[in-house]
Subunit: 398 residues, 2 copies
C-alpha cells in the first residue's frame, strides 16, 4: 500500500515536474560509479556513447613520471575505460588499500567530473570526485556510528584586520551539555585554502569524532580559521561573492596574519568554554599553515604547548619588513626557553619542501631546540595531512 503511494508520487513527480531543480535527478544517468567491489576493486562507469576515448585519472592509480620545469616528477596515472555496447564505458581498478581517493574522468582529452558521483571536494579552484576505501587508517575518515561533534561556521570580529571574518569551529561530542572547560587546537590551512579546507579535504570532524570515540584523543575544540587576510571568508562564502579561487593570494605570508592571530584566540577564549592557558593550546598547520604555525608559535613564545608543522613551507624571511619576521632566531630561542610539551615536524620523503625542512631541523638541532620528527612516504598531499592530523591529535593535552 505504501509502495503504491510512493510509486504514484514518483510518477507524479517524474512526469510532471519538468527537468529543473528538484527534478534534476531524472536527467541523471541511472548508473552507479564508482562501485566499490567486495575485493576493494573499484569500478568506474560513464555513459558517453559519442566519446572516442574515456580515461580515469586520480591518486588511486600508480603515479607516472611526467615532465615539469624541474625535470621529471611524479604525476597522476591514467587508465583507459572500455566501451560497452550500451555506450557505457567501464574500468575496474586493482584492489585498493584503505584511503580517501580522488579522481576525474578524461573524455576525449577533456578532464571533468563523474556525473554519477555527487561527492566532490574543491581544492583551490579544482573540483574532483572522491571515494573512500575503508579499513585501517581510512576508517578514521568515515562517519561512523559514534558520538559526533558539532561543526559550526561562525563569524568573528577581527579588530586588527577591521573586518568580520568567517571561521569553522569543531566542538567535540558532549560540549554543549557539559560544564567542562576544553583545550583548543588551532588548525591552519595551506596556500589557496581557507576555513573550509580542513573540514572538507582534511576530514577533521570525522577524524576527531573517531579518535575521541576510541579514547585516543582528548575531547578538544578544533578551530579552523581563514589565513587569507584579504578575504572575510572562503571563496563563495564571503562578501567578495563568487569568483575563481587562486592559489597565491596577496598578503598571506607577509606577517599580517601572524600579527593579528590573537584576534582569533581572543574570540575563541571569550566565546567557548575553554581552558585559556598554554597547556591547553595547540597550533598546527599544513604547508603555508605550517609556516604560519612556526611563526605564530615563536612570535607569541609562551602561548602554545603543542606545535605541529605538517609539510611546513619553511622559507627565508630576511627580506620581509613585518615585525613578525624581525627576530626569528631570537624568538625561537625564547620559545625554547619558555618550554613546550611537543614540537612536532612531519614531512613526506618526496615533498618539494623536504630540503627546507632538513635545513630548519638543522637550525633547531644547532640551537638545541627539542622536536619530534616524523618522516612519511609521499609528497605534498592531503593524504599525508589527514594522517599527520591523526597522529598529532592523540599527542595533545595528555
Amino acid at each position: 500500500m505504501k509502495k503504491y503511494l510512493l510509486l504514484s508520487l514518483f510518477l507524479l513527480f517524474a512526469t510532471g515536474a519538468g527537468l529543473f531543480a528538484q527534478e534534476a535527478l531524472f536527467r541523471s544517468q541511472q548508473i552507479i560509479s564508482p562501485e566499490i567491489q567486495e575485493t576493494n576493486r573499484v569500478t568506474f562507469r560513464l555513459l558517453a556513447p559519442n566519446a572516442q576515448t574515456v580515461q580515469v585519472t586520480g591518486d588511486f592509480l600508480p603515479t607516472v613520471k611526467i615532465e615539469s620545469p624541474r625535470g621529471m616528477v611524479d604525476g597522476p596515472g591514467k587508465a583507459d575505460l572500455k566501451k560497452g555496447e550500451n555506450g557505457v564505458w567501464e574500468f575496474t581498478s586493482e584492489p585498493l588499500g584503505p584511503e580517501l581517493y580522488n579522481y576525474s574522468f578524461i573524455i576525449d582529452g577533456f578532464t571533468t567530473t563523474d556525473p554519477n558521483n555527487p561527492f566532490l571536494i574543491r581544492d583551490v579552484a579544482s573540483v574532483t570526485n572522491i571515494f573512500i576505501i575503508g579499513g585501517g587508517h581510512a576508517d578514521l575518515f568515515k562517519t561512523n556510528t559514534v558520538s559526533h561533534g558539532t561543526v559550526a561556521r561562525r563569524w568573528y570580529s577581527s579588530p586588527g584586520l577591521g573586518m568580520e571574518r568567517r571561521i569553522t569551529v569543531y566542538t567535540p561530542p558532549g560540549y554543549e551539555n557539559s560544564t567542562d572547560q576544553y583545550p583548543v587546537l588551532y588548525l591552519l590551512h595551506g596556500a589557496g585554502g581557507d576555513e573550509e579546507a580542513w573540514v572538507s579535504l582534511g576530514r577533521t570532524a570525522q577524524i576527531m569524532d573517531n579518535l575521541i570515540a576510541q579514547g585516543k584523543a582528548k575531547p578538544m575544540i578544533v578551530v579552523m580559521p581563514n589565513g587569507n587576510v584579504i578575504q572575510d571568508a572562503a571563496p563563495g562564502e564571503g562578501s567578495l561573492g563568487l569568483y575563481k579561487p587562486q592559489f597565491m593570494i596577496p598578503k598571506t605570508m607577509d606577517g599580517t596574519y601572524e600579527a593579528n592571530f590573537m584576534d582569533i584566540v581572543n574570540f575563541v577564549e571569550s566565546n567557548y568554554r575553554v581552558k585559556a592557558d598554554k597547556a591547553s593550546r595547540a597550533i598546527a598547520g599544513l604547508s603555508m599553515g605550517g609556516f604560519h604555525t612556526m611563526h605564530i608559535s615563536r612570535f607569541y613564545p609562551n602561548t602554545f604547548d603543542y606545535i605541529g608543522l605538517f609539510s611546513a613551507a619553511i622559507m627565508p624571511r630576511e627580506d620581509a619588513t613585518s615585525k613578525v619576521y624581525s627576530d626569528i632566531d631570537g624568538t625561537l630561542k625564547t620559545q625554547m626557553e619558555n618550554g613546550y610539551k611537543l614540537y612536532w615536524i612531519a614531512i613526506g620523503k618526496t615533498d618539494f619542501l623536504f630540503d627546507a625542512n632538513v635545513e630548519f631541523r638543522e637550525k633547531l638541532d644547532k640551537m638545541g631546540m627539542p622536536y619530534e620528527y616524523e618522516e612519511s612516504e609521499g609528497g605534498h598531499i592531503w593524504r599525508n595531512w589527514r594522517i599527520y592530523l591523526s597522529q598529532f591529535a592523540p599527542r595533545l593535552f595528555q
Copy 2:
C-alpha cells in the same frame, strides 16, 4: 619586495609540487567562466579544442517545450558556444535579471560541469554550477557585509527513531552573546533533499542574515532537519557512507517523520535559548516538506502559530495506516479552532501540484479555515522556494 617573495614562492610551488591535491590548481585552465559583464550579460567559456559542439543549458535561458510522458512540458533551453582560434568556446547571454541561476555544459552531447567554476550545488544526485546576478530580490542571496548568523551541523538524539541524526541549525547574529530567548522556524526540505538542502540550494543563511539586517525579519533560529527517517544524515555525511542519492526514499511519507517530529522540537527547546511556546514556533516546508508541514501542524494542533506550505505535495492519504493520517479533517478542524496567526500557502502557476493545492484550498474554504495565498509564476523550482522563504520569514513572530 613582498611581490618578489610571493613570486618565488609561487615558482617553488608551481615547479616542485607535482600535480596533486593542493597543486591541482596548476592543472586548471586559466579561464574565467562565467564572467558577469556590467550589462548583466554573462559570458561562458570552455577550453575544449577537440570538441565538435559545446552548448550551455540552464535556467537562465528561456525554456523550451520538450516531450514528456504527460505531453509537452517546459524544459531548460540550450545555447551554442562558438569556438575561438585558441580552442576556447564562448557564449554570451542576453542581459539577465536578478537571480541565482544554475547551468551545465554539454560537450558533444555529454552534460557536465564547468571546470572553471568551483561553485556547485547538489540537488538530489545532480550537481550543477551556479552564479548570481545581483540586484533586487537576488541581493538577499548574497553574503553582504552585514552581521552574520552561525550555521551549525549538529547531531541530536531521536528516541523515537532510535538513532543519532544530523541537523542544520541557523542561529541569528548576536545569539551567542545574548540572553534573549528566540523564536524558531522549522524549515523542511522536499523529496530527495536532506538537512543540507535549505542552506545550499535555499540560501537560508544569506536570506535570513539580510532580512534581519534590513529589519524585515525578527532574529530567529532556523532549524533544518533531515526528513528521511531511514537516514541519519545527508548522503555522504552519515553512517551510510558515500552512495548515489535517490529522489524517492522509503518511509518519507508514511507518517513516521511526523510521528517523531517532537524529538526535534524537544531537542531544540532543551538545547537552544528559545521561547518554547506556540507564538514562537513556525513551521514551513517545500514540496514533500510542505506535505510534512501540513500534517505535523495539524497532528500537533496547538503547537505552531505560523504554518507555511511552499508548493506543498498535498496528496490523499486514505490508504495510509499511520495514526498520523487517521483523522486529517478532524485534526485540521481542531487546529483551526485552536487558532494560529498565519497559514500561508504559496505555489507557482505551472507547478504540477497546482491542482492539488486548488483542491486543498477548496477544502479549507469549505471548512472556513483561514489562510493566505500567494500565487507566483513558474513551477516546482528552488527559485520559487527561495522567494517564498523571503516572503514568509518577514511575516513571522511580529
